[in-house]
């Protein structure tokens, strides 16, 4: 049983560069159990999904991306991908809701679409999150569209997330009447409901953890549902607390290590042992900081999941491996 089985919309945020795109992708793979359709969305115009999965740049339209992580019995679901850009979303929105006819074309010709999507307060965000909303609660006007069991959003970073989904406030306030207000009110209903979970990705470092704390506070203030915290790039944890303390204090038993390394069939040189001890010390210092931050993350009182740091970088295989780890830990 997953921790989020009632959730239809998984929003993945976090500090820049902590692994939002990586985690969103792995989560989509993990959620795609047998018979399920999962949609992975990106909204920042960077074609990050295409790069990660090594496919051609994605258009504004849902594409079959890959199959999910196999279940125990080998069955697997399907992952689709969607790259949402504000201009296409606005044009789609206008044609879906307003029969503007000539005016619609004029809007484009006079640069209104361009203007609206670059500056008008919150308009860009409402368009992007509006399309995400549409993918979750399919619009009857969108004939033949796939019904997804889950939608995963590779979202903007923590600093901008509340603004990104808390569209009710800004745009609703600006257009106090009219259809946009009604529209953004319905969207808020979904975003603030238990069908949504906003997950935060962090590293065990001071700045990202601080951003996670601030992010959670802001989500709570806006009554947006806080999901789990995914702790990414965790260093290996196979040294005991005692060994770590000794490594830091420089009191690891040099003789014992020499003997063991020799027993492992490796030629022992003083340089090698120096290296091992130095590496152990730096690792232990890093680990001490990580453990400190891990305690802080624990104190947040939300479910946490951990993914290891891959020294070789993240390729497709690593994404599936991460998906497996997220499933094991109950995130999907």
């Amino acid at each position: 049983m997953s921790d989020w089985s009632k959730v239809q919309l998984h929003v993945v945020t976090g500090k820049g560069g902590t692994g939002k795109s990586t985690v969103a992708s792995a989560l989509a793979l993990a959620l795609a159990h047998k018979g399920k359709n999962v949609l992975l969305c990106e909204v920042e115009g960077r074609q990050g999904i295409a790069r990660m999965f090594d496919v051609d740049p994605l258009p504004y339209g849902e594409r079959r991306l890959t199959t999910g992580l196999p279940d125990a019995d080998g069955g697997r679901g399907v992952v689709y991908a969607l790259h949402i850009d504000a201009e296409s979303a606005l044009l789609e929105y206008l044609s879906m809701y307003y029969r503007l006819g000539r005016a619609g074309r004029a809007l484009d010709r006079f640069g209104v679409i361009e203007f609206a999507t670059t500056i008008a307060p919150g308009v860009r965000d409402v368009l992007l999150s509006g399309k995400v909303y549409e993918a979750v609660q399919r619009n009857s006007r969108n004939k033949g569209a796939i019904d997804y069991d889950a939608v995963v959003l590779d979202a903007p970073p923590t600093g901008r997330i509340a603004q990104f989904i808390n569209v009710g406030g800004e745009v609703g306030g600006l257009a106090k009447v009219g259809p946009i207000k009604t529209q953004s009110d319905t969207m808020m209903k979904l975003f603030q409901s238990p069908q949504t979970a906003v997950h935060l990705v962090t590293l065990l470092e001071e700045m990202p953890v601080q951003e996670t704390i601030d992010g959670i506070a802001e989500l709570k203030k806006d009554r947006l549902p806080v999901g789990g915290v995914v702790v990414n790039m965790v260093r290996p944890r196979d040294l005991t607390a005692d060994a770590l303390a000794a490594a830091r204090a420089g009191t690891l038993d040099r003789g014992a290590i020499e003997a063991e390394v020799k027993a492992a069939g490796i030629e022992v040189t003083p340089t090698l042992v120096d290296d091992l001890l130095l590496e152990a010390r730096e690792h232990a210092e890093r680990r001490a900081l990580e453990d400190e931050q891990r305690e802080v993350v624990r104190g947040l009182g939300v479910p946490t999941y951990e993914l290891p740091r891959m020294t070789g970088g993240v390729d497709l295989g690593a994404l599936y491996e991460f998906a497996g780890l997220l499933r094991e830990q109950g995130m999907a």
């Binding site: 000539r102 004029a106 361009e114």
Partner: protein, 402 residues
């Protein structure tokens, strides 16, 4: 912004005439050179721009220069230890600066940029108090000044221009070190003024401005069709706010563009040194490569690349596979062997170092003329002057280590 290529500057990047590799980046020579008046640290987010800027500024001050560092988003503890956690948009003296070698220390001031405040101040200086109030309260202005992509970059340039003008007048500083905003692309810093200008010159903005400027010649049938549908979708208040905003653009922001142009030329001048900071990771180095190419296109003086948070290379030659095989042999008996764990750590380290070296080599092959400094990752965060000094030493060491 006009792109200009000047012949007298050092050309770097793929267009450079010779394929010879540049040596290491000599940071101390750069800081000692009195002609260096501005140092700009660029790079994608999280790579260490703020840390590097602060470390360079401190080192320069301790070597006797009078320095101001303009930081954007320092980590909280770093801001505290530099005494700039209060965002008041004015440089404050940093305490604890000590002369590095017998000589006399210069002065070090630091400030943290308040983007919105900088923007507001410009508006206040350009418009009558009444008009300024009207603009500051306009929802479109609020959006532009707080969330328009590029505003932060643009305001960093604005502030740099201000500080530079003041420093020239009063002689307070002889070196300005600039940190850049945490954008995902280093190019955003150079593109921001252009983006803002092209927004202000956009078709729709010009159209909305036309009625304010005189006879409503442009109130064509097409235009009223637009205003009608905007009113239908967004309500009448929306259009009114928009009109106010656009009118303000006309009166207030004309001067903006001109100043941005001046700051841009300042960046192209010889007294400026760009440093590109990157982590030894594919994304960050790709961004660094774009940036290096762009600098050379725009005739901007690139001083070098700083590869920050590199994994320190082991001295011994034990290969990763061998270390792992050894660890497996030790683990055969199932006990938690310390040596096995250390061998695995060693294998990780070797792999990281190899991967990073390969990435750096690839960069150097494509951009052979970029002097480079490699700064190892410290085990802990950098959050006080001692930490900054350590980074400064490592930056300078990189030159002697080759």
């Amino acid at each position: 912004m006009a792109r200009r290529t000047t012949e007298h500057q050092t050309r770097v990047g793929p267009t450079s005439p010779s394929g010879r590799r540049a040596g290491p980046l000599d940071v101390d020579a750069m800081l000692a050179d009195r002609r260096t008046g501005i140092i700009v640290c660029c790079g994608s987010g999280g790579v260490g721009k703020t840390t590097t800027s602060a470390a360079l500024a401190l080192r320069a001050a301790e070597q006797g220069r009078n320095v101001v560092v303009l930081t954007i988003d320092p980590a909280r503890r770093l801001a505290q230890s530099m005494g700039i956690e209060a965002l008041d948009n004015t440089p404050r003296p940093v305490t604890g600066v000590v002369p590095s070698s017998g000589g006399e220390a210069g002065r070090l001031d630091a400030m943290m940029l308040d983007m919105k405040r900088t923007f507001d101040e410009v508006v206040e200086s350009q418009a009558s108090p009444e008009k300024a109030q009207q603009i500051l309260a306009n929802p479109f202005y609020i959006a532009l000044s707080s969330s328009f992509a590029g505003t932060q970059e643009y305001m960093a340039m604005e502030k740099l221009g201000q500080i530079h003008r003041d420093a020239k007048k009063t002689g307070t500083y002889d070196l300005i070190v600039v940190d850049t905003p945490p954008s995902r692309s280093a190019l955003d810093f150079l593109d921001a003024p252009e983006r803002l200008s092209s927004f202000l010159d956009g078709r729709f903005v010009r159209l909305m401005m036309a009625p304010a400027r005189g006879p409503a010649k442009l109130m064509t049938a097409g235009f009223s069709l637009i205003t009608n549908s905007l009113t239908k979708i967004l309500g009448a208040q929306f259009l009114k706010d928009l009109q106010t905003f656009v009118t303000a653009l006309d009166t207030v922001f004309g001067g903006f563009r001109q100043r941005a142009q001046q700051t841009y030329s300042l960046l192209q001048a010889d007294g400026t040194a760009f440093l590109v900071v990157a982590a030894p990771e594919p994304d960050a180095l790709r961004e660094a490569a774009y940036f290096v190419e762009r600098l050379s296109e725009d005739g901007m003086p690139l001083a070098g690349l700083i590869v920050n948070r590199a994994s320190p290379a082991p001295e011994s030659k034990l290969a990763a596979e061998e270390a792992l095989a050894g660890a497996r042999r030790l683990q055969g008996d199932g006990s938690g062997s310390v040596a096995a764990a250390l061998l695995r750590l060693h294998a990780d380290q070797v792999r990281l170092v190899e991967r990073e070296r390969e990435l750096r080599d690839r960069f150097a092959t494509a951009h052979p003329q970029v002097p480079t400094a490699v700064v190892p990752a410290l085990p802990g965060d950098v959050h006080d002057l001692d930490g900054l000094r350590q980074i400064g030493d490592l930056l300078a060491d990189s030159a002697s280590a080759g």
